[in-house]
């Protein structure tokens, strides 16, 4: 029996079909769910919030989407331990909803960035990284104007101490330098590209794993992330 990955469709989100396709590539099943729904589809075992520009990024990226009924349902499911991954705008929505710590501010160079980046896996064994090992380097594209991960210093210290930093922007050889605009192009604090909540079941990342899921796309490095979420949804938990 296969677990279902719910993909919420919030107005302005535009990666939902890419996400559904990537999930099918690893043998998973997905279902779109409308933003006005107050519950997740029956049988949902994981949630993948796609990227895009919900509500035109009005006010702040993700600020209005967080009040969608489906986001409240995701919050309740997350509190019960359901794995949730938010990518790009999905990450911004999770931060705005308070399901993840920190915020995504304007890129330091002010430019909208659409390019491949390298990422170092910091924490393996989460619902989205259990097919990976700490130290693995992945090449996955980013596509955002507000991706500069920002949080108070004490919050970031706490994330690092609690293994809540999921991914960092790095050079191709895996070295990390937050001041290097080549490897950390949006200026994220301590090069943080993805984080989890304290329990580890809610994860957010700016790069798009679904856009690195087939060789024709130039990289398959995102596939293990999608696969992790799908497999955790079929086994309902990882060791």
């Amino acid at each position: 029996m296969s677990g279902l990955v719910a993909i919420p469709i919030i107005p302005g989100v535009n990666c939902e079909h890419d996400v559904a396709h990537a999930i099918s590539l690893v043998g998973g099943e997905s279902a779109f769910v409308h933003h006005m729904e107050a519950t997740l589809p029956s049988g949902t075992q994981a949630v993948y919030i796609p990227g895009g520009f919900s509500y035109g990024d009005y006010l702040r990226a993700g600020a209005i989407a967080r009040f969608a009924p489906i986001v409240a349902a995701i919050g309740r499911a997350a509190a019960d331990g359901m794995p949730v991954l938010g990518v790009c705008n999905g990450f911004q929505i999770l931060c705005e909803a308070g399901l993840l710590p920190g915020a995504l501010a304007r890129n330091v160079g002010l430019r909208f960035l659409c390019q491949d980046v390298h990422l170092r896996v910091e924490t393996a064994g989460t619902p989205v990284t259990h097919r990976l090992k700490a130290g693995n380097v992945l090449r996955i594209p980013i596509n955002h104007g507000e991706g500069c991960y920002t949080a108070p210093t004490e919050t970031i210290d706490r994330l690092e101490a609690g293994n809540q930093v999921l991914l960092r922007y790095c050079r191709p050889d895996g070295t990390v330098d937050p001041d290097d605009r080549e490897s950390n192009p949006n200026g994220s604090l301590r090069s943080i590209a993805g984080v989890t909540n304290e329990a580890g079941n809610v994860a957010g990342m700016m790069p798009h794993p679904e856009r690195a899921s087939e060789s024709i796309l130039g990289s398959v490095d995102g596939l293990p992330i999608v696969e992790s979420l799908v497999k955790v949804s079929t086994t309902a938990g990882v060791a």
Binding site: L59, R60, A63, I64, F67, C95, E96, G102, A103, A105, R106, N107, V108, G109, L110, C148, T150, A151, P152, G187
Partner: protein
């Protein structure tokens, strides 16, 4: 029938003091390039203005503060100021 007067409220939201403000920096450099040397502390934010039914300024202010903390501002990266401008028009 109650006829609650309205208050005009202006909320100014800015990047939190101490955080990087790349937009403010870019404008600071542009001002310097145009000859306004020595202009510092340039910040860019946004203004949200609205009419609010409220019997007095304090009520309007506290309603607006709650709006800011719930949606208008993100306390992780932004500060806000509330100005209540008397009865709306």
């Amino acid at each position: 029938m109650s006829d609650t007067p309205t208050r005009h409220v202006t909320v100014t939201i800015r990047p939190k003091v101490g955080l990087r403000d790349p937009e403010g920096n870019a404008i600071e450099h542009a001002l310097a390039a145009l000859g306004w040397q020595g202009v510092t502390n340039v910040h860019v934010g946004r203004t949200v203005s609205f009419e609010l039914p409220a019997g007095d300024d304090d009520t309007a202010r506290s309603e607006a503060a709650e709006m800011c903390s719930r949606i208008l501002a993100n306390p992780v990266i932004e500060d806000f100021q509330i100005e209540v401008g008397g009865r709306g028009v």
